[in-house]
Amino acid sequence: MNVLEVKNLRKSFEDNVVLNDLSLTVPDHTATVLIGASGSGKSTLLRCINLLDTIDDGSIYLDGKEISDPEINVDEVRKNLGMVFQSFNLFPHMSVLDNIMLSPVRVHKLPKEQARDEAMTLLRRFDLADKADQFPDRLSGGQQQRVAIIRSIAVKPRLLLLDEVTSALDPVLVNEVLSIVRDLKADGMAMVLATHEMGFATQVADEVCFLKDGNIIERGPASQVISAPQEAETKDFLRRVHEAGRL
């Protein structure tokens, strides 16, 4: 069963064609990693899947149901999608616990007690229980991003979208965030993630997709796309990443 199917997706901003006839399939419990140069459309693809951007053509299916239908209730769709942003986007006026409980209580109508228990269980699991009552500005970047990830999985989404969740962090903080993602992957959470961390991509990816010029130029297991790329453009991209010291 496929959690996500993207068929012939097109998206432009005015005359800038960002996604050009792109197709993608994500089977349940698998992780798909998007790699590609800055501006290749990774964020745009994730935002389209989450219906934050409207698409120009093509269709998107979540659990076999078309969500790119304009008649669909986007709030209902987003109940099944978690999204984590590069810049955390925690709500600064709410404590860590309230950030995590907001959607379970307001959107999924869970009783407060139950939402609190579940949030605390997650915080304990990821070593953040002592931060429950803190406000986001008292947390390190790595802690903020871990809270943001917990917030997005607190509603048990079918699919998690992660957009460069470590690129705003100091190198020493990257690992604590990546280890959460690895844990979630081990739990069987289906995910699509954009990243510049090739080492991490290799560890977590079931499939790696290399984006260029609005399309997927090369796709396959990490052992192929990252370790032994076939296409000249993929090789070129990886060489530049390597030169920048990221491999």
Binding site: V74, D75, F85, N89, F91, L102, R106, V107, L139, S152
Partner: protein, 296 residues
């Protein structure tokens, strides 16, 4: 942020150090620089303010000005009446502030909403704000205070107090709506995106994520508007409401002495100066918080 506690530990250790000779010299020289600065500030204030006072007091007309504007025994005589008038201003301010808060919030929410069904209301709210921000408050007071009774609509009030308050509320709601709207627009779109991606509807996003942050940001400008509102309630005296301004007017027209006006001004200042100081403090605090947030 995370290195908060180690920093406190080091500063704790620093307390037990005996300062070096160099540090003692530095402290002494800092102290002497501070003394010099205080001396300069005092001297320059005394000279500037002193010569201004001298200029006024030695001017040829000073004695007559003193008698007509600063006759303190007469001022004390009318104090009770003027103070009673000021109570009217204060009550009017409180009632108006509450009504303005409600009305302005509705206007701001209408103007920032994107719902298709609300389009006519959005247009009306925009026109309303444009009109009432562009007409002098005094004109609105006159138009409503004299215009509404002239319509002779049955059941409509003729109370100048209510009509005056209405005019103030109508005008200030337009100002305050714009302040609230600017607060709403100042919240970064990524906050809205985060809320929507969690499944919150657009009205839930407004209520739980955008508005709480926006209102916190506009507290200082709203306090400024509150000070202005208190002063502007004096304008309803033109309709014959016996507020502080009107009370002073009555007292001074009886004796052709203007001290009651000065008395009223002093009474207003007794409220507005603390309120302004408080506003400055709130503003400084909120700037500090926002800077800290930007650094995090």
């Amino acid at each position: 942020m995370s290195n908060d506690s180690p920093a406190r530990e080091t500063s704790g250790r620093a307390l037990s150090w005996t300062p070096s000779q160099r540090e003692l010299e530095r402290q002494a020289s800092r102290k002497s620089i501070g003394r010099k600065k205080a001396l300069i500030a005092t001297l320059s204030s005394v000279i500037v303010i002193g010569s201004l006072i001298r200029l006024i007091v030695t001017s040829p007309g000073w004695q007559s000005v003193k008698d007509t504007f600063f006759d303190w025994s007469y001022g004390g005589e009318v104090l009770g009446a003027v103070a009673k008038g000021l109570i009217v201003n204060i009550r009017l301010t409180i009632i108006a502030a509450i009504l303005i808060g409600i009305f302005a919030m509705i206007l701001a929410l209408l103007r920032t909403s994107r719902s298709a069904a609300l389009t006519p209301f959005r247009i009306m709210a925009t026109a309303y704000v444009d009109i009432f921000r562009g007409v002098p408050l005094l004109l609105v007071i006159l138009l409503i205070g004299f215009g509404v009774p002239a319509l002779r609509i049955e059941g409509l009030t003729n109370s100048v107090l209510i009509l005056g308050t209405t005019a103030v509320v109508l005008t200030y709601s337009a100002y305050v709506a714009e302040v609230i709207r600017s607060g709403i627009l100042s919240i970064h779109p990524s906050q809205r995106a985060a809320a929507r991606s969690l499944g919150l509807s657009s009205s839930q996003t407004m209520r739980h994520v955008v508005l709480p942050q926006a209102l916190k940001r506009v507290v200082p400008p709203l306090l400024n508007d509150l000070v202005a509102l208190l002063k502007d309630t004096g304008l309803v005296s033109i309709l014959g409401v016996t507020d502080a301004v009107r009370a002073a007017q009555i007292a001074s027209s009886r004796t052709f002495n203007y001290t009651p006006y000065v008395t009223a001004a002093i009474l207003f200042l007794l409220i507005t100066i603390p309120l302004t100081r408080y506003t400055d403090r709130v503003l400084a605090k909120s700037m500090k918080r926002q800077n800290a947030q930007g650094a995090a």
